[in-house]
Symmetry: C2
Subunit: 242 residues, 2 copies
Amino acid sequence: MTRHAAIRAQIEARILSGALRPGDKLPSEAELVAEHGVARMTASRALADLVAAGLVVRRRKAGSFVAVPRAEESLFGIPDLRATLGPGHAHAVLHRATRAATAADKARLGALPRGARVLALQVRHMAGAVPQAIEDRLINLAAVPEAAAEDFGAAPPGSWLLERVPWTEAEHRIGALAADAATAALLAVAEGAPCLVLDRLSRREGLPVTAVRFTYPGDRHAFTGRSTPRLREAPQPGMRIS
Amino acid sequence: MTRHAAIRAQIEARILSGALRPGDKLPSEAELVAEHGVARMTASRALADLVAAGLVVRRRKAGSFVAVPRAEESLFGIPDLRATLGPGHAHAVLHRATRAATAADKARLGALPRGARVLALQVRHMAGAVPQAIEDRLINLAAVPEAAAEDFGAAPPGSWLLERVPWTEAEHRIGALAADAATAALLAVAEGAPCLVLDRLSRREGLPVTAVRFTYPGDRHAFTGRSTPRLREAPQPGMRIS
DNA sequence: TAGTGGTCTAGACCACAGC
DNA sequence: CTGTGGTCTAGACCACTAA
């Protein structure tokens, strides 16, 4: 491993483990130079890589800090609904339950220890009086214990989680399904109407954090995005839901 | 503009304009040093940025070369169907026409000069005897004149284009639609069945190149992906269609 | 084996934004 | 004003691999 990669890995591990939290100050280049006995360009390279990875922000004179994830640029470039729908957006928690993980829960979240507890949520997102999406979410309380005491009245669970839990891996699936009777009723569409479905499973260092399914009425939503060849100084703008 | 950015921009312009084609050799670091009067690290940084942008590949002793886009990692990480479906995949051109751009064509491709000619294609993708997708594509012949003489028997148009035409910008839309009668017949699904629809418009330096709509049966396909925080040395694996 | 890229050093000057 | 990051230099050694 190269020296800049070693420095980078050390800092990255502290961020991903939670020892360093979003907003915390990192060592300055000069401190890294003294600590690791390298040239400043080497320390600078390590921090620059962390910036490219989105884990760190740097400000002149102020220093380097653990990046605070912005809700607008969620996983895979698919933002959460708060940013998408804007001020007219409202959400309501339809169901909320904590329970020992069932077999079905384990199938969604992946391997969980025996007796693991999960928080199951169903949230409906509205734009005015028009239903825009149904969110079915499972949260692994072993990974996010503070979720048990949260009512998600102010921020929907996606935004709430994004600002608190660093993630290291996510799996996504975007498909199309016909609305079943329950979904159709909640979304105010005809039974059998085409719906866009986004499934996402997020992990932190192998530990499942949350599994979520968003169901959007096919006539009201699409994922849109712009992309350019990935440039270091122009990160991918990502997808929007529109 | 910094010196490494200037060197990078010069090379990038030559690649995007087509003056340098995929596979062409770029100046070595030593040549860039002599040409621009900079230190080697500065030239190296310019080339490293181009590698990060995916425009360049570098091999020790051999040199730096314009990257040949791989069909497996298409725009937005959504690969073309050849790579997805593997050896069992076959495609057939159902319709093929060159014509002066109609109003509908211009609506899909965006601004075109008067009298612009386009190639319209409809292609069906199969896995064995099972239809997997319908591809409706428009190609701007002003941007890709050699497409007029291509029959797309060997490679489907997506792969063919990707290997020949550099792109600088793309817009995407993923939605869900009910299959109309014609689509249902081609995909061998019931009329009204939910379908996943991917629309993509690609441009090269503002010039529309191609607009395409893929329609997938909702019960046979989904876009799946894994993602990690974007690391310079571990590029996004991207989506797969499965 | 020689050319090329990959990394690192120990300096330097500058721009910028907090203090 | 000063700490911090951003960039650049002119070297150096090494690793890899294509010739």
